[in-house]
Symmetry: C2
Subunit: 316 residues, 2 copies
């Protein structure tokens, strides 16, 4: 059976499925940031999400979409970031095993996060090939289900639930800005937002050092990130055919920002919103701060994707 496509309906179903299993996160505003921007900025705070990142949504939707029978050998994924912890958490809620393959050079905090949710950590060499090989072996040997971090319609639909909440809370949004890494968030959110509000201006923002979405979007041909280099470690992944297709359909504009702009934006948001966000979260606001987009008189939703930061290694 082919997995269902991502639609407003599948996102609405995801929302019901994950209700009570993830948080409805708050939306923050700051007078100072509004004045600086010349428009109204509404920050959707997924840094307050369970596990500290929006990934909780997609993982919960994936795990609760699957039958107990399908899940009898548990789930497996590979991740150096927030997705691993999110899958471990969703698996614990679902009462099944989670094997998380992690590069041996992941930070202590990331290992700790996966383990704190009862996930079983398996270390591998720090290459994509090694991660995929080890995950595939688990799938073959145990029959565990693979939960991809973004190339999965259930995961994408879960991330799309953010747009439903945000548009409910701020119905008058005229713009919506999201960071783009592998494109799961951008796909889900843009599908929901554009279906509900065809006139909304959807903007994806990417670090210039990992600009595959920009190049793919501009050329019309899917291209990868050969050597991603950015402080926004959640955005080093590259689009898949599926996320590229959804983004082409629903996103109006893809913008890239410099490393300096990302760090400056992160610091500005810490200072004025008084919240902790990770570098990837600061990427859309970086485009506003650098005047790469004109948001004057717009009502702009900005998704802050996560707040998992090493407090001993801040980028300024």
């Amino acid at each position: 059976m082919a997995p269902p496509e991502v639609t407003l309906q599948s996102i609405q179903a995801a929302r019901e499925r994950i209700a009570g299993r993830v948080r409805r996160t708050p939306v923050l505003e700051s007078e100072t940031l509004n004045t600086l921007a010349g428009g109204r900025l509404y920050f959707k705070c997924e840094n307050f999400q369970e596990g500290g990142a929006f990934k909780a949504r997609g993982a919960a939707n994936a795990l609760f979409s699957l039958s107990q029978e399908a899940l009898r050998a548990g789930v497996v994924t590979h991740s150096s970031g927030n997705h691993g912890a999110a899958v471990a958490r969703a698996a614990r809620l679902r009462g099944v095993r989670a094997r998380i393959v992690m590069p041996e050079n992941s930070s202590a905090a990331k290992f700790e996060a996966v383990r704190s949710f009862g996930g079983e950590v398996f270390m591998c060499a720090p290459t994509l090939a090694a991660r995929e090989a080890m995950a595939e072996q688990f799938i073959r040997d145990t029959g565990a289900v693979f939960i991809h971090p973004y190339d999965d319609p259930r995961v994408i639909a879960g991330q799309g639930t953010i747009a439903l909440e945000l548009l409910e809370e701020v119905p008058e949004l005229s713009w919506l800005m999201v960071p783009v890494g592998g494109g799961g968030l951008a796909s889900g959110v843009s599908t929901a937002a554009k279906t509900l509000r065809p006139s909304i201006h959807m903007v994806g923002v990417e670090p210039a050092g990992a600009d595959d979405a920009y190049r793919s979007f501009t050329s019309g041909k899917l291209t990868g990130n050969a050597h991603p280099e950015t402080v926004a470690d959640g955005l080093r992944g590259a689009l898949s055919m599926r996320t590229f297709g959804l983004i082409r359909e629903h996103v109006d504009e893809v913008v890239t920002v410099s490393e300096t702009a990302i760090v400056r934006a992160m610091r500005t948001l810490w200072q004025h919103l008084k919240i902790i966000i990770e570098p990837s979260s600061a990427v859309p606001y970086a485009a506003v701060l650098e005047n790469l987009v004109d948001v004057r008189d717009q009502r702009v939703g900005i998704i802050l994707t996560g707040g998992n930061v090493d407090l001993d290694a801040l980028p300024w």
Copy 2:
């Protein structure tokens, strides 16, 4: 005319007076922090208050309690911290001049905060005597009204409004913990909370390096802080007769915490709540983290007083 005493009624009146002029701040919880503590902790986030600190409440109540006639020469205060910016902000809302006397060694961010609200900064030598002398001269020369940071019933009543909001949102609170500096917050909050809920357990927490409230509370005699030394720069002040009296009447327990505990608590709150708080805000939670109080099975309100931190000089 003697200023009115602080009562539940004056605090309720303050709430109406400042409504729309300060924020109703959110209350945050964290599963991890609850598990660590063995009780339920409700964090009242005054770091999200206008100007980044609870001081906005007392200043707004003071300014809007005074007639235009009384305010014709504006207001004056001295402050190295959040009170100066709060007075500047309230004065702007009220449409009157604010002169803020500040020690010349205050941080650039503090000067900037006062100026951003239209306050006029006057620098003085970094001693209490110099601050008081300059402020007194303005009062004498101009007829401006002095707004004391805490030894003022209107300021105390303003700070007390935090307790009204918190008890409305979490009526089942059994404990309430606040940091103690000059005692304005502790006085107002404890007056409101104990009047509404006589059974609530009120705890004041102080840095061991500025423990005048602890010594005064224990000995029954008001004593000062000769040489306050603490990272919690908002808590270096000493109780006045007025705040000491209110605290003796309404607070059940005063606890002191070490500098190490304060920094550890601050970091733990940053990490798990994903919010930015200043060291003074972490002081009550430090007592929980160090097991200096037994909050097991309690429902504990904790007031996080502010979020104005120098991001280039974190204490870890």
